[in-house]
Symmetry: D2
Subunit: 337 residues, 4 copies
Amino acid sequence: MKKIDVAIVGASGYTGLELLKILINHPVFNITYVANSTGGISVSELHPSLDSVLDMDIKKVDAKELASVAQLAFLALPHKTSMSFAKELLALDVKVVDLSADYRLKLETYEEYYCPHEDKENLKFAAYGLAEFYEDQIKNTKLVANPGCYPTATLLGLLPFVPYMKKDTNIFIDAKSGLSGAGKKLSDTTTFVNISENTFAYNPFKHRHAPEIKEKVLELTDIDAKINFVPSLLPVIRGMLVSIYITLDEVCDAKQILKEFYKDDEFVRVKDNPVNIKDTSGTHFCDLYVEQNGDAVFISSSIDNLLRGASSAAVVNANLMCGLEQSIGISKIAYVP
Amino acid sequence: MKKIDVAIVGASGYTGLELLKILINHPVFNITYVANSTGGISVSELHPSLDSVLDMDIKKVDAKELASVAQLAFLALPHKTSMSFAKELLALDVKVVDLSADYRLKLETYEEYYCPHEDKENLKFAAYGLAEFYEDQIKNTKLVANPGCYPTATLLGLLPFVPYMKKDTNIFIDAKSGLSGAGKKLSDTTTFVNISENTFAYNPFKHRHAPEIKEKVLELTDIDAKINFVPSLLPVIRGMLVSIYITLDEVCDAKQILKEFYKDDEFVRVKDNPVNIKDTSGTHFCDLYVEQNGDAVFISSSIDNLLRGASSAAVVNANLMCGLEQSIGISKIAYVP
Amino acid sequence: MKKIDVAIVGASGYTGLELLKILINHPVFNITYVANSTGGISVSELHPSLDSVLDMDIKKVDAKELASVAQLAFLALPHKTSMSFAKELLALDVKVVDLSADYRLKLETYEEYYCPHEDKENLKFAAYGLAEFYEDQIKNTKLVANPGCYPTATLLGLLPFVPYMKKDTNIFIDAKSGLSGAGKKLSDTTTFVNISENTFAYNPFKHRHAPEIKEKVLELTDIDAKINFVPSLLPVIRGMLVSIYITLDEVCDAKQILKEFYKDDEFVRVKDNPVNIKDTSGTHFCDLYVEQNGDAVFISSSIDNLLRGASSAAVVNANLMCGLEQSIGISKIAYVP
Amino acid sequence: MKKIDVAIVGASGYTGLELLKILINHPVFNITYVANSTGGISVSELHPSLDSVLDMDIKKVDAKELASVAQLAFLALPHKTSMSFAKELLALDVKVVDLSADYRLKLETYEEYYCPHEDKENLKFAAYGLAEFYEDQIKNTKLVANPGCYPTATLLGLLPFVPYMKKDTNIFIDAKSGLSGAGKKLSDTTTFVNISENTFAYNPFKHRHAPEIKEKVLELTDIDAKINFVPSLLPVIRGMLVSIYITLDEVCDAKQILKEFYKDDEFVRVKDNPVNIKDTSGTHFCDLYVEQNGDAVFISSSIDNLLRGASSAAVVNANLMCGLEQSIGISKIAYVP
């Protein structure tokens, strides 16, 4: 098959590393350009585990140079930085999968929770990269906004049940993330001494992923859900387990609803036992489990925060944008044990 | 001060070890008898960390022998085993702090979730050992039922808010426990390889601590709460963090309610930042935090599952039963870092 | 390329799982037979992470059935069990890669440290599966004895320096292994509570991998080395870091010797900074580092105990036995972060 | 007993926190002064676990103010900062236990490995605070240099065997430390993501604790030992396990030598099974184990790096300097499980 040349911008972080790891072995995509904000270093200096695996220089990012060697770019950049660069690339006719928050939200929502938007034009055409729900949009766009990790795990668990919820009841989302979700920036929170043998909530009811969840639920179901989102950090490197608690309007067979809903989705597994993060770690799977107690429902959703929550989702989206099967080059083999 | 001779029965498990650790340095209680089901071993053979610290033989448990040397006994035994032995000790006029489930519940509830009760007589007189709510009963009884770890963390966080809850709304309790809560019995679940870098719910909506929570809420507030309890295991040795989600009937200042409620309680700290398990690990403190979002409330409760959730609570109860200050011999110094 | 049908016997353990994970995506080998001692279960029931990935039944092991569908078998069985089964398979003209200890040692050594040997005939023809040193033998045999994990990491680090060692000085090997090396059998040692936040030596100077190291050093260098081997357990799931301490006879440039020695080996990386276990975890690489202090030399060797120390080594050996490049289907992409 | 007023300078770090934890419950020492480099914060703001336990302000350090309220000061400061401050305090007649490296070494050694010494006068009178070997000097000095954590664990294991060593053979010390030993300063090395599921050597043969070990061995045994020291980091919060490898001159019963050597030492336990770090964590114990293989000897030494390796050793030294029993206020109860 004819190779498609692709670029990775923002290769220093964890999601940049995961993109490299996936794309090195991708049968169609061919990495021609890797960049970060400074350049002047090689891939294996930045990521020693790739020594003797990928011998490339990291460039100081430049849109024109990128456009001259790649047809599609993955942007693993901080929000705000991302949109100004995406704008340049799109003008140069490069397809973009953006892993930041910059194209995920409607304009008003974005500006309320982040900052003034600098690429309102392209924002209108961006597809939200949750392939189970937006496959057609993704296939027909040049700009995909990759979803956040918390919204990915939450939406996949919650959406099948939104139509069955009791009106105006609270949805409670208790979401636990591994430390890689906090990124590479040094902080007291992420030292081994502080987080090992520890766990705690952070930004309860105030995390910026809550409006992303709320907006997509409204868009897809027309229901203005009462989202109450509490993230926590777990002493694990990767993995995300989200507990979703809802109240039903009428009795229904929740397990049956879930199985039916995802019966054709290759990367969602509905399980008969409570899900864990180890079985999805290293893969693009989302594992789901549901349990009922009268009108109370508990949904448990497990993903690899760096893959399904970021980099493998980005490659799935790129596959679809390029007319490939979504599963090309995407791992189903977990890191267990 | 005159010493009081005490016994520990069930010295092999984690709560037995914690009892030993507390009582070795207790200024009033004097350990005269330590037993397990087999005997024939010394304390330091069973718990090598106590080598050169406590030089005692472990006896094969015998009620009469115990009663001849101790005035009070801590029973760290499996349920069912515990009640038959407690009955004997009480008949011999030995005070009992029972760490099992045997005297925690009303007869009907107990028999529904556990097994037929074999000591109905004493069950009537047992005090529930949550000192913040049952101090008078504990001071005036010869039999205390030490609460479960999940109910301890949950009740301390939930009870202040029960009067403010919206009628018939679901209470969701997302409770995370360290592995020591699963006890010493070998199982696939508790191996390092399976739980490190992992987390998962178990027995969602079906754990036996849920009826204990429901019954105490009813007893203390006269409200038949809709308790929905989901426990999870965390890859930590000790510690418990419980998230409680409720819906309010009317707007109120949750933080103010919590601070007022516990202003006189020495071992409950109401914090201004989300609580973590490290700051309570090694202590009898329960740390609480609350956050609101309209009518939705999130309460986060942290305890050391082996201490506040078992052994230090047992010693607090013994202190009160013997006319001592509750804080005698109880640690406030956490294991941090 | 024409597919080669292969079998995995002993699919329940960690090395069996790793074999499955490698072979599912192997471009030439085709899994036709998976067995354990009982059968009657599917691959995804045994290893839930493989749900929706590999849909096969696990058979109760039977040599004739295996021989009718596979040309080569991987045996991930306990020692003793392995040799009786290998014997049967070889008689049926099936190639065997044996991951147990049964064909690693000379007869006398084996019988001293293990048990009476039951397949002395084939033992004579077994190749020792350390491809960097025995490639020709492996290519020309029907039976490969896969090396132990400790010997693999140790021999790769030690062998380049044996000719430079001072006569009759002690070699000290301080080897640390992740918990998966202890296998799936339940024991107090491997519970999370006991090993997390802990580390300790076990069987110091008495581990059965010491004679394996000694014998191969003698065979390859004709030097009867004074091997002193001390293994320890680390609170990590996978990974092995071996410190080797030797005394030199004459001054030499150890780094240079090491680089020269492995300059043509695809799966050994000589590093300029001390090696860690994370950069090899998930791969077949052995990372080596050396440092000198006068006549004292420290060599640090890192491997993934389940892959380079067992299952990827087995597939490398199978590749060579079947006339393929050693690197076919072998991962170079680490699990980092 | 009459209280003795003491000060802690450098309260922000892990050793400062451990000093606070010990001294809060010390029956004789009374904390009257706590300082760091900035002041303007309370103890519980700096260390939230001490909320409701110790209500004191942290002062900006000032020698005169300290001298007006305390008779003895613990200095948990960086080297160089420490000596200039100790000098002031000693001139004001305050006893000093210095936890830095500033008074541990002879002048020439110090200046070779650290920096020019600024308090040569007091350096002459400093006692080395390893109570098992320097008790008399400690009792009769006003300045104690608290040993490093690695030298403490190493010297306690090595010194009994120095007289039996073969002349001019290498001593190899493979030392593993928990992350708290790296201090609170943020670095890539100490993040959870980088060290969890990882381990590696650092500064092999080049750590500054090696000359400290060498110098004390020479001072106490008159033997110029060939010390080869390789430290590693373990993914644990606290604890240190040191493997010492030596070659004997003549056959001897190593276990017997060790037991005899420490038969009167309250805080050294010679064990019959390999030692682990969990049984010493939280205590001042050093646990030792020895194994022989011909002329090769393996000694395993376990301590809590923050207590026996720093803060409890400091309090033991202060006890001795003040004419108290060394064990006053010193914990023997480990944090297990």
